[in-house]
Symmetry: C2
Subunit: 277 residues, 2 copies
């Protein structure tokens, strides 16, 4: 089911700048027992992304109401929220009066086997690189050709995620996930000031780690640094935390810190769902 | 008027990857006396862009037929051709069976005053930077947030174009144009291996210059190099060649080489239109 500006529809105007230029941004949420998980955090990120792109935010109230309406009776699903700069404006110049378009759509929850979460996944390095752009870095915007080109590099169903480097050779994230590694009991992840998507799960994982007194360090690191880690995992709002058991020829154990973060995250989701009931 | 896969329509499926991810590319052509100018060159670029993005090219025959059908009776207009990877595919992964979407749309020709072509335009440097990505550089793809952010930097109607630098400080192009400068009777333009759009007019200007025995040099240059040029101009398929008479506080004369290139270009368009008749 799809809602476009509150109405049931399956299409969008050709003139919409989301279609013309990828001029917009999006969120992907897990829907569990009728509830969009971490909705408030997702809407807050959408709001801040809209501010950075100067797209008028449709408002927490209307997005919450429509989201809850769409998610009712969904036991397990994926909700996608797209906001675009709407129609109009000749060329790249935005119209003086922007009427943002909002699209909410439900999708089946992907049938990932439980083993991905328990035993971990296999990953590879992509040759497609992430460009550097401080103005757009962090935002979950609709310009996703870099990820599409990276994801097109492999068809092997035994590889679940591709890791992307920036043009300077720093490992930044997965094609659809944020990346963490653990070394000497510290949790490391990339700085996202020049590329990458600042994920909701990423910020939650960092918060959980800090609450558990695990030092969290954001920095720039290369392949070698990653491959000599004690534990590695990827995360996003749909998969939660997946341990990485192998990157190309290097194997990793699913360690205690990753297990603990998975446990804490599950608790957090449970608490949120209970509070909403 | 808009044709979507050959049928008159004004909308596109929400599931289209052009809307979901900016997963596609486009061309913008001038339509003159019923004829799409430099159609063959535009379709060739579209074909090579499709190849680079692994999108199946819809074919020269069908695109030519639909273009000519749409342009008939248009004395002066703009034609936009969009090709996307079509619908489907979960997330960034492309579907195994890609059915490209083609959208052809007509737009009014912008009412630029003749003075832009004759006396030149005023330009500024944008603070928004172009990211570096060799895999996408040169392609006129649908990921255009960088240009939109740059174009949003000014509202002053006396400024006609913004010049964009890459993250390393090299001047690359205008928000909607390619950029050239002349120094000591040589023609210079930026290398587009890491960012920028490889324009049809850009390649034509370079060809005309070479035919006139003007040395053409593609290289990376900074603001200072540009501001100490003898002549500066920008170009694209809609505006042709616009001399730049001012960049911020630096003034330029509309020089003989720019005038000659404009003249040659006009001749080339005339010849093409005559040959088609």
């Amino acid at each position: 089911m799809i809602l476009v500006n509150g109405a049931r529809k399956s299409h969008i105007d050709i003139t919409d700048r989301g279609f013309q230029y990828g001029d917009g941004l999006f969120e992907t949420l897990e829907v569990k027992a009728g509830h969009p998980v971490f909705l408030k955090r997702h809407l807050e990120r959408l709001n801040s992304g809209c501010q950075r792109l100067s797209i008028p935010f449709p408002g927490f109230e209307i997005l919450s109401v429509e989201t809850i309406q769409l998610c009712a009776n969904q036991s397990l699903a994926v909700l996608k929220i797209i906001i675009t700069r709407g129609s109009g404006g000749r060329g790249y110049r935005q119209p003086d009066d922007i009427q943002a378009t909002r699209v909410l759509s439900l999708h089946p929850y992907p049938d990932y086997p439980e083993s991905f979460r328990e035993q971990g996944i296999v990953s590879r390095f992509c040759t497609s690189r992430l460009g550097l752009n401080p103005g757009l870095a962090g935002i979950k915007h609709l310009n996703r050709l870099e990820q599409i080109m990276a994801r097109a590099e492999w068809n092997d169903p035994d590889i679940q995620e591709g890791l992307m480097l920036d043009v300077n050779g720093h490992v930044i994230e997965g094609t659809m996930t944020n990346l963490f590694y653990i070394k000497d009991n510290c949790l490391y992840t990339s700085i996202l000031s020049h590329s990458g998507v600042s994920g909701i799960l990423r910020s939650l994982v960092m918060k959980i780690a800090e609450d558990c007194a695990i030092p969290v360090i954001e920095h720039l690191f290369d392949k070698y640094e990653l491959l000599t880690a004690n534990e590695v995992f990827v995360c996003n709002s749909i998969i939660g935390i997946w341990p990485v058991r192998q990157i190309e020829n290097t194997r990793f154990c699913v360690g205690q810190i990753t297990r603990n973060l998975q446990l804490q995250l599950r608790g957090l989701i449970k608490t949120e769902l209970n509070n909403e009931h």
